[in-house]
């Protein structure tokens, strides 16, 4: 199963990226991993939406029932570097997810 990073439209240039191909099960594992990871702090969402924020100011939004995941890159990152920043978050999420799966 491959997950891809796709730019999503926003007023703030190039700050939103969607993860395509995340299954509901993968989303559930990722949610557990983010909840357990001290580097990501949860802040209030809406409905069932879960929002996690890193110390660098990046955010991960996750809708558990659909598996939708969106990365919001911190505004302090220059526009030209935002895709790389989002890719960096994706790599971290993949690592967290793998570790959570291994842990069971």
């Amino acid at each position: 199963m491959s997950v891809t990073l796709a730019r999503e439209l926003a007023c703030a240039r190039s700050r939103l990226f969607g993860l395509r191909g995340v299954t509901i099960e993968q989303g559930r594992i990722l949610l557990g991993a983010l909840e357990a990871c001290p580097r990501w702090r949860e802040r209030p969402g809406i409905g069932e939406l879960r929002i996690f924020r890193s110390a660098a100011g990046h955010e991960v939004l996750l809708v558990p029932s659909t598996g939708r995941v969106q990365i919001r890159v911190a505004y302090v990152v220059p526009p030209i570097e935002r895709f790389d920043a989002a890719a960096g978050v994706l790599v971290e999420l993949a690592r967290l997810g793998r570790a959570a799966r291994r842990a069971g």
């Binding site: 926003a10 007023c11 069932e48 939708r68």
Partner: protein
């Protein structure tokens, strides 16, 4: 702002802070609205009307929320905090009762103008009439000066590619004439009995959830507020409506149809960018589930969003493939107009009219399967291309003394 008393006039989906009415609008609408006022009145007169409207509106708000503060510094601190919490930007005020200066790197209008147009268009006039009005009002309120005692002029602006927005604050030689403002007590007599419509249970519950969410939103370190992929402001209806109706009422009779068309188009811009942005957001998906793309779901979603943003209790009376009847007894425009100007001889709920039409365009002409991107060029195709595909006819309007405001949108 966060400590001030906020009130949701629940049966009407109207929002107030200390009885001062406010709503939520995004930068696309804000910029288009201001441009419309300037297009109608001319750059200089338009800017003057906008600064004075903001001055009056913020004076009303700041007087209300600084009641418990005892020193000028306390009042200035509350004012700066409120402006940032509303998403207008973090402004540093360095003022006395004789004047001074103010500065910000992130005034909402200037910053968002630069983000949207800055790479393609040069601008000669500053963009932050709202911030200028706020600065003058904050100085007056801090030092307990009479209305119109101070004036603020934006001298540099990020929208002109200058490094920050700066304002010069001076005592006015003669008091600046400020327009009257409207508060909850003035509006309430013009609100009709609350009415629901089709899908009322779902729309009401969804609107409640959205209201809770946006009420908890605050400006970030810059004093800007981002949500649903757009920059949002918690903004004073007195500002929007004083300036919109100034444009409509001061325009020559022959130009009125064009002015009204522009004021309705501002609503198209809002529905396309803000409502559309919300519909595509994870926030919406978490509340309403994945978008089905069915026109009925888009329209009822838009009505819930309008209520969630404090526009009033909009209700669907009829909805079919070719026709929408949208009505309200508490749209934010009508009670303001009636309280401020009295009865109108023509329907004046321009935002409501434009929004109803735009909702049908979004519902029937946008593919919601994930392939649609709400870009400016797509907006131009939909709303400025070969025809909208629908037209909107206002049938009744509370600004004319009717008991409700209602529009019929028909396929052309």
């Amino acid at each position: 702002m966060s400590e001030a008393k906020r009130l949701l006039l629940e049966p009407h989906d109207l929002t107030f802070v200390e009885d001062v009415p406010y709503i939520y609008h995004c930068s696309h609408y804000n910029l288009f609205h201001d441009q419309t006022v300037d297009d109608v009145l001319g750059d200089t007169a338009g800017q003057q009307v906008r600064v004075r409207a903001a001055h009056a509106a913020f004076r009303q708000l700041l007087r209300a929320i600084t009641q418990g503060a005892s020193t000028p510094m306390e009042r200035l601190s509350i004012a700066m905090g409120a402006f940032a919490a509303m998403g207008h930007g973090r402004v540093d005020l360095d003022v006395t009762a004789e004047g001074g200066s103010a500065r910000t790197g992130h005034a909402h209008y200037g910053f968002c103008w630069a983000e949207k147009y800055g790479s393609r268009v040069s601008r000669t006039l500053p963009a932050d009439a709202v911030a200028a009005g706020f600065v003058a009002a904050a100085t007056e309120v801090a030092y307990e000066l009479p209305a119109g005692a101070m004036q603020a002029v934006e001298e540099t602006c990020v929208a002109r590619r200058e490094p920050e927005c700066t304002f010069k604050v001076t005592r006015a030689a003669t008091p600046v004439p400020l327009p009257p403002t409207v508060d909850r007590q003035a509006m309430e007599p013009f609100l009709g009995p609350s009415e629901g419509g089709m899908d009322e249970a779902w729309i009401g519950a969804t609107a409640d959830t959205l209201q809770e969410f946006v009420a908890a939103m605050e400006g970030d370190e810059r004093g800007l507020m981002e949500g649903f992929g757009v920059f949002i402001t918690r903004h004073l209806t007195n500002y929007y409506l004083e300036t919109a109706y100034a444009a409509a009422r001061q325009a020559p009779e022959s130009a009125l149809p064009i002015v009204e068309s522009l004021l309705r188009e501002a609503a198209h811009v809002c529905v396309f960018h803000t409502f559309g942005g919300i519909l595509l957001s994870p926030e919406w998906e978490s509340v309403a589930g994945r978008l089905s793309g069915e026109p009925e779901d888009i329209v009822r979603g838009c009505v819930a969003i309008a209520r969630g943003l404090g526009f009033g209790r909009w209700a669907i009376r009829e909805l079919g493939p070719d026709r929408l009847v949208l009505s309200t007894t508490s749209n934010y425009e009508a009670p303001y107009y009636a309280a401020r100007f009295g009865k109108s001889d023509r329907p004046r709920c321009y935002f409501f009219q434009g929004a109803a039409l735009a909702m049908m365009v979004l519902a029937h002409r946008v593919r919601w399967d994930g392939s649609a991107e709400l870009t400016q060029s797509f907006y131009d195709d939909l709303f400025r291309g070969q025809g909208l595909g629908f037209r909107c006819e206002p049938t009744t309007c509370q600004t004319m003394g009717h008991d409700r405001t209602e529009v019929v949108v028909r396929r052309t």
